[in-house]
Amino acid sequence: MAAVSAYRSLLRSARLAFQGDTRMLDAAKQSIRQGFRDKASLAASDPTIQPAIQHALDVANFLKTNLVQGKRDGTTYKLRIHEHTERGDNESIKLAGNNTASMGGVKCCSEK
């Protein structure tokens, strides 16, 4: 059941992240489907399932909060920042290293 709900949240995130971009959305859906199909035959007790589900949830979260669509507008890009996009504020810079912002799990340059 956990896998089904991960699958659903991943599809939802992809739909949000690639809204209006049919090519990317189709590719994302295809890759999500493939990833789940590959593991569909595993037994429920298989120890690799839990990390796989966690990975799916992490990807879903990344797509939702750390990915922004941009459209070229002359020499600049117009970004579609939506309500779920992660936005740090100046306070979070002072707390660098305390990891208030997830940065999609990637370390920021100031963090060693």
């Binding site: 059941m1 089904v4 709900s5 659903r8 599809l11 939802r12 739909r15 489907r33 789940f36 569909a40």
Partner: protein, 140 residues
């Protein structure tokens, strides 16, 4: 259906437009023909707008038909002939749990609604889906 509605409203409009003419014509001396032509289009346009606005909510048949078409286009369904009003996604249509998730997501897109996870988990058959859509006031 739309055509009969327009014809009916047009007929009603001409009746409405014609009726006041004799009364006013007795007081004001303008040719009755002129008056009907200036009256009629306005009334027809108003009726027409009213027709479009009266869209109304979804009925059961329409919801079922849209879900049926959606499933007919889904290549995982074992046989389009099995799509019936009470068909169960996994028992009758041969879909697994991942396919069911995709069908429910497709239904969400079709009716422009968002189905919360706990409700989505309970939709396992076409009649359940139809029932859920009908209970949503936002669905269209």
């Amino acid at each position: 259906m739309l055509r009969t509605a327009i014809l009916r409203s047009a007929a009603a409009a001409t009746r409405v437009a014609v009726r006041p003419v004799p009364q006013i014509a007795s007081r004001v001396t303008i040719a009755p023909v002129m008056r009907t032509t200036s009256f009629a289009p306005k009334a027809v346009a108003w009726q027409g707008i009213r027709c479009y606005a009266a869209g109304g909510s979804l009925d059961k048949e329409e919801v079922y038909e849209r879900i049926r078409q959606l499933l007919a286009a889904f290549d995982k369904v074992n046989d389009p002939k099995n799509i019936k009003e009470t068909a169960h996604f996994s028992n009758d249509l041969g879909l697994d749990s991942l396919d069911t998730v995709e069908v429910v997501m497709a239904i969400e897109e079709e009716f422009s609604i968002e189905i919360p996870d706990k409700d989505a988990d309970n939709i396992h058959s076409i009649d359940k889906a139809v029932e859920y859509i009908l209970s949503q006031p936002d669905a269209y």
